[in-house]
């Protein structure tokens, strides 16, 4: 009996256009050649050793802001962007995060809410990876409820002065510019803070046991004085950062499917070659149950991602659709990773295989960009009209 293809069991990718397929193949080839051979070492080292080099090579490919238009962006559409996220996260969630933060959070904020001058200054260099951005919303005492943030921006003549602390900021200590969200007398506003601004500092957060192939930092703003041109004029209120988060979250919907697929393939491969009790463990009914459950989860996740992607390209995606995808796909990926890990036995706990790396990465993925609980509340509100957040 010849085996069917577990990589895309339902042939979900048949629906991709020629360009979307070309993007998939390019990211896959790039990931296999340039990222996969190193990522376990980066994870073990707890950092990305050459973030500038990585940014330039990814910039050459055109992944940063690939869904945006103008300023050198590729204009690849939502599904094109999604497929790229899926293939990147099949390598590692940390590397997809690297791209999400630059393209979906920092660049989207500037592209959507910035002045022409701000766009001209930053976007062309961020597309190529010459300049890196980060996105500072979360604080030590303000996570799921960002409206409770304490970072303040006050006017002083024509200038703005920022004080506060941002926490868990991806790429915070390597960024050239931080998009910082702060409370003002006129509500929450966004600011472009150059890393060179006096009073700005970033400290790497150590001792993470998830998303280790990623740089996470604390940002400290101690009387950072900025000219009035640093304000993002189009961003008024909390809905501005939340709309950027919805973009990045959309990438996670696809990315989680990629991480899950990588775990499934690793587990099938291992189960077919690992012999116990005189036969491949893939031949035991209990293992096959696990494989079947993983296959269903992976394919559901891929279908969900594509479905939301098509809605988005048609301009019909509601942010609750993206919440659905994040809740469903991250949870599915967590189940798949944990199941795959069990199939790999002792080998499953090492960095020789990708499964435990994915499994612990997914703990972060489930937390950032809105926790599972937050998305459950969003979905509940979307279909009942009742707000259960507070």
């Amino acid at each position: 009996m010849s085996a069917l293809n577990p990589e895309d069991f339902l042939d979900v990718d048949r629906d991709l256009s020629g360009e979307e397929r070309a993007i998939r193949d390019t990211v896959r080839a790039y990931g296999d050649a340039e990222l996969l051979p190193h990522v376990a070492d980066w994870f073990e080292a707890g950092t990305i050793p050459d973030p500038r080099g990585l940014a330039r090579s990814m910039g050459k490919l055109g992944v940063f802001g690939m869904h945006l238009t103008g300023y050198g962006c590729a204009g690849a559409g939502a599904v094109g962007y999604g497929v790229a996220c899926r293939e990147l996260e099949a390598v590692d969630s940390g590397l997809r995060s690297f791209v999400s933060v630059q393209g979906s959070l920092a660049m989207t904020a500037i592209h959507r809410y910035g002045t022409d001058a701000q766009k001209q200054e930053w976007l062309p260099r961020m597309v190529t990876g010459e300049a890196l951005g980060c996105f500072g919303l979360t604080e030590p005492d303000s996570g799921s409820d960002p409206g409770s943030m304490r970072t303040r921006a006050r006017r002083d003549g024509d200038d703005w002065v920022l004080d506060g602390t941002k926490m868990w900021i991806t790429n915070g200590s390597v960024a050239d510019v931080a998009i910082v969200w702060a409370r003002t007398d006129e509500g929450i506003r966004g600011f472009l803070v150059p890393a060179s601004a006096p009073g700005f500092s970033a400290n790497v957060i150590h001792k993470k046991i998830s998303l280790r192939a990623s740089i996470t930092s604390e940002l400290v703003l101690d009387g950072v004085r900025l000219p009035k041109e640093a304000l993002l004029p189009g961003a008024e209120g909390l809905k501005a950062p939340l709309s950027c988060l919805s973009e990045a979250r959309y990438g996670i919907v696809w990315g989680a499917a990629g991480a899950a697929r990588a775990c499934l393939l690793s587990a099938i491969d291992y189960a077919k070659s690992r012999v116990q009790f005189d036969r491949p463990i893939a031949g035991f009914q209990l293992t096959q149950r696990k494989i079947a459950d993983m296959l269903v989860d992976v394919n559901h996740a891929m279908l969900t991602a594509l479905s939301i992607g098509r809605l988005k390209d048609a301009g019909n995606a509601h942010h609750a659709h993206v919440s659905f995808g994040k809740l469903a796909n991250v949870r599915a990926a967590q189940r798949v990773a944990a199941t795959a890990r069990s199939i790999l036995g002792a080998n499953g706990i090492t960095l020789e295989y990708p499964v435990m790396r994915h499994m612990v990465n997914l703990e972060t993925v489930a937390t950032y960009e809105g926790t599972e609980e937050v998305h459950a509340l969003t979905l509940g509100r979307a279909v009942t009209g009742l707000d259960a957040f507070r």
Binding site: G18, E19, A22, I23, T26, A29, Y30, K60, L61, G62, V63, M66, G72, C73, A74, G75, A76, G80, A84
Partner: protein, 259 residues
């Protein structure tokens, strides 16, 4: 400089490749078509020469309708335009027929430099560059691991068993390249999005003034008369060493006439 890169679509080496039982030719529908690996190196070299010396890169592909995927890949890497030679009359052409068809097309579209991969992963004849040069009456600079152009002078390093030969000639010329020559770029997403807007001209045999008596399966000088699937490997014999392992191994080798 007008550079033409010949690019071939081949069945993906990662999938199962088959011959068609109908006419013993490669079944191009059975497997996914991908760009022949060495052709990527040829495209890369063409783009590098264009970047250094200016000009235009045209992709020339002879192949069935689905070969457009491969053409788009070369365009996504950065080639400017393409000519797709597609005609049922070309099906089953051997190297002689293919070189006639491509040479006729090249005469039509014009060129200063033609670049090819040194062989394809499907037919692996490795003779096309030489045949093309002969038909076009130009110098052939084959198996290049390095190409230098200075005005109308072209020189290459041709890989040999003992090192390399330095070969020089005057343009127009035909060059074939080996893997050592460069590291093909990944197509950028901008390139991918732009590729669908680049011009692809379709040629039939009449457009290129191809002599149909010289192409196609019926006119091929070589013929596949029969083919068989390679038998699966028989299970190996395990020799248990009970003090006589050496003798048993020697016996086995003698039975296979190795010793």
């Amino acid at each position: 400089m007008n550079i033409v890169v010949c690019v071939k679509q081949v069945p993906d080496t990662a999938t199962e490749r088959k011959l068609s039982s109908k006419d013993n030719t490669l079944d191009r529908d059975a497997a996914d078509g991908v760009i022949n690996e060495l052709c990527e190196y040829a495209v890369e070299e063409a783009l590098k020469i264009k970047e250094a010396h200016g000009g235009e890169v045209t992709v020339l592909t002879m192949g069935p309708a689905k070969a457009t995927d491969t053409i788009r890949k070369a365009l996504a890497m950065g080639a400017d335009k393409a000519v797709h030679l597609v005609d049922d009359a070309l099906h089953g052409s051997d190297a002689l027929g293919t070189s006639h068809a491509l040479a006729q097309t090249l005469k039509k579209i014009g060129f200063d430099l033609v670049i090819l991969g040194s062989e394809s992963t499907d037919a692996r004849t490795g003779v096309l560059a030489a045949m093309l040069a002969e038909r076009l009456g130009t110098p052939q600079l084959t198996l290049a691991r390095k190409v230098d152009i200075d005005g109308s002078a072209i020189s290459i390093e041709r890989v040999t068993d003992y090192g390399y030969d330095k070969v020089t000639a005057t343009l127009p010329a035909v060059v074939s390249v080996v893997e050592k020559i460069n590291e093909p770029r990944y197509p950028s997403f901008k390139g991918i999005m732009a590729a669908k807007k680049k011009p692809v001209q379709t040629f039939g045999v009449a457009d290129a003034e191809i002599d149909t008596a010289q192409v196609g399966l019926a006119s091929s000088w070589s013929e596949v008369t029969e083919f068989a699937v390679a038998p699966p490997r028989a299970a190996g014999t395990i020799v248990k060493d009970e003090g006589d392992g050496g003798a048993k191994a020697a016996e086995f080798l003698a039975s296979k006439k190795f010793i």
